[in-house]
């Protein structure tokens, strides 16, 4: 017990503490390598963790991570899958609020935009935005770039991306029936959406 406590005690780090040398370890999450010397420092408060390298990798240095309970809300990055809520649908684009990055909910609002050419991979010229999204829809999308000054550029041009949840005019959550249609369980009304293919 004392040994474990002592080990846990020494394993806690705060920003600026030295974790090792670049020639010996690789900085992971919560650590960084200083450019002016070859030292790896912690950038977060938390527990130091050593991850052994993969057996087949050429770089045999272990990865040092600082995992803790002090991490800021996630920031969308190009290539990350986000969950967004559509706020406005226009003729050539749809605005959305990013609410999740990966499996983490964002703490602050980030704006995203789905352009007409990013809705689906086929028949790009014939996309009708109003038949793909409605305000209030929950969408799974891919961040393609940091976008312009207004919003991140999102794309749903894959089978797994698109509307994951939508409400019908009657107010009930609709059931997807194909990749372009959703059906209201109360009234049976069929509505057009760019539907995401759900994992079975």
């Amino acid at each position: 017990m004392a040994l474990m406590e002592e080990e846990k005690e020494t394993a806690m780090v705060t920003p600026g503490e030295v974790l090792g040398r670049i020639s010996e370890i690789k900085p992971g999450r919560g650590a960084y390598a200083a450019t002016h010397n070859d030292t790896v420092y912690a950038s977060l408060t938390g527990f130091r963790r050593n991850i052994p390298p993969a057996i087949d990798s050429s770089d045999q240095r272990p990865i040092v991570e600082v995992t803790g309970h002090k991490a800021h809300g996630p920031v969308p990055q190009p290539g990350s899958i986000v969950i967004a809520r559509v706020t406005k649908v226009m003729a050539r684009s749809a605005s959305a609020h990013i609410v999740c990055v990966g499996t983490k909910s964002v703490r602050e609002i980030f704006n995203g935009i789905i352009r007409q050419q990013d809705v689906r991979a086929t028949e790009i010229d014939k996309v009708d935005m109003h038949l793909s999204f409605r305000p209030g829809d929950i969408v799974r999308a891919l961040v393609v770039s940091l976008g312009d000054a207004r919003a991140y550029f999102l794309s749903t041009a894959k089978n797994e991306l698109g509307v994951v949840s939508a409400e019908s005019i009657a107010g009930a959550t609709m059931v997807p029936v194909s990749w372009t249609e959703m059906q209201c369980p109360l009234t049976g009304q069929i509505e057009q959406r760019k539907v995401a293919k759900m994992a079975s």
């Binding site: 806690m12 705060t14 920003p15 600026g16 503490e17 030295v18 919560g30 960084y32 200083a34 420092y41 950038s43 977060l44 408060t45 938390g46 527990f47 803790g68 309970h69 002090k70 991490a71 800021h72 809300g73 920031v75 703490r107 602050e108 609002i109 980030f110 704006n111 940091l146 000054a149 207004r150 991140y152």
Partner: protein, 241 residues
């Protein structure tokens, strides 16, 4: 007026190299992403950090790194004479810029492109050394928010009165007309991020005063690390239950 007695005691009973009592508390503002209260003697400062969040002023957005903004204010009741200064007076603007530049030097802004980090610092009680306390409070709040930093920036002031270097001036010593040096450093990296001085000082004495301030900054850094580690331990204990 005599600020250091022949026995080597100051007006409040401290030795020349003694700091006032430091106290800090994490998580004072529940709505903020990170917050802290920091006290140095009778100086009390509260800091709140919001972000990283979307940039509100589009013209200031930077595509490759986070934008750091800081707002400093003093409560009307924080000094002996009640103040009614409007927001944005020259001193507040100067201190806001100083805190912003100090924090920009230590935050790893390139990890959060296209975003904004807001730091709000308010002085609740002023008794000298307010900008040092503000920088220490902002550092604690940033660490509480989980913003990645190169190091914990800590700050301390020092002065020179009655031919004696003094550490951590209070209001009476600050008003005595002697030199007042405010220093901000990255203690583990051993770099200076802030250096300000009022009045005149010979350069050899300045080096002595700076050395004293560096010792004070490192003492503050040790205390801040203790606070952070204790807070992390408590969180781990609660999560373990």
């Amino acid at each position: 007026m005599e600020y250091v007695s022949p026995e080597g005691l100051r007006l409040d009973g401290r030795r020349p190299m003694e700091m006032r009592q430091i106290r800090a508390e994490i998580g004072a503002v529940s709505k903020a992403d990170g917050s802290a209260v920091f006290e140095m003697g009778n100086t009390k400062v509260i800091a709140a950090v919001y972000g990283p969040r979307q940039v509100q002023n589009k013209s200031q957005q930077m595509n490759d790194q986070a934008l750091v903004r800081c707002e400093y204010s003093m409560a009307n009741f924080s000094t002996g004479d009640r103040m009614r200064k409007p927001k944005g007076d020259r001193r507040s603007t100067e201190i806001s810029l100083v805190i912003r530049q100090t924090m920009e030097a230590c935050i790893l802004t390139h990890l959060m492109p296209h975003s904004q980090i807001d730091i709000f610092v308010q002085v609740l009680q002023a008794d000298g050394g307010t900008r040092s306390a503000c920088i220490n409070a902002a550092t604690l709040a940033l660490a509480d928010a989980g913003i990645p930093m190169r190091d914990l920036v800590t700050s301390c002031s020092a002065g020179y009165l009655n031919s004696t270097p003094l550490l951590d001036l209070n209001y009476v010593e600050d008003s005595a007309g002697g030199a007042d040096v405010t220093l901000g450093i990255l203690p583990k990296l051993d770099k200076v991020t802030l250096l300000q001085m009022d009045s005149k000082l010979p350069i050899d004495i300045l080096e002595n005063v700076m050395q004293l301030a560096i010792e004070g900054c490192k003492a503050v850094a040790n205390y801040i690390r203790e606070i952070l580690l204790e807070n992390t331990k408590q969180l781990e204990y609660r999560r373990g239950v």
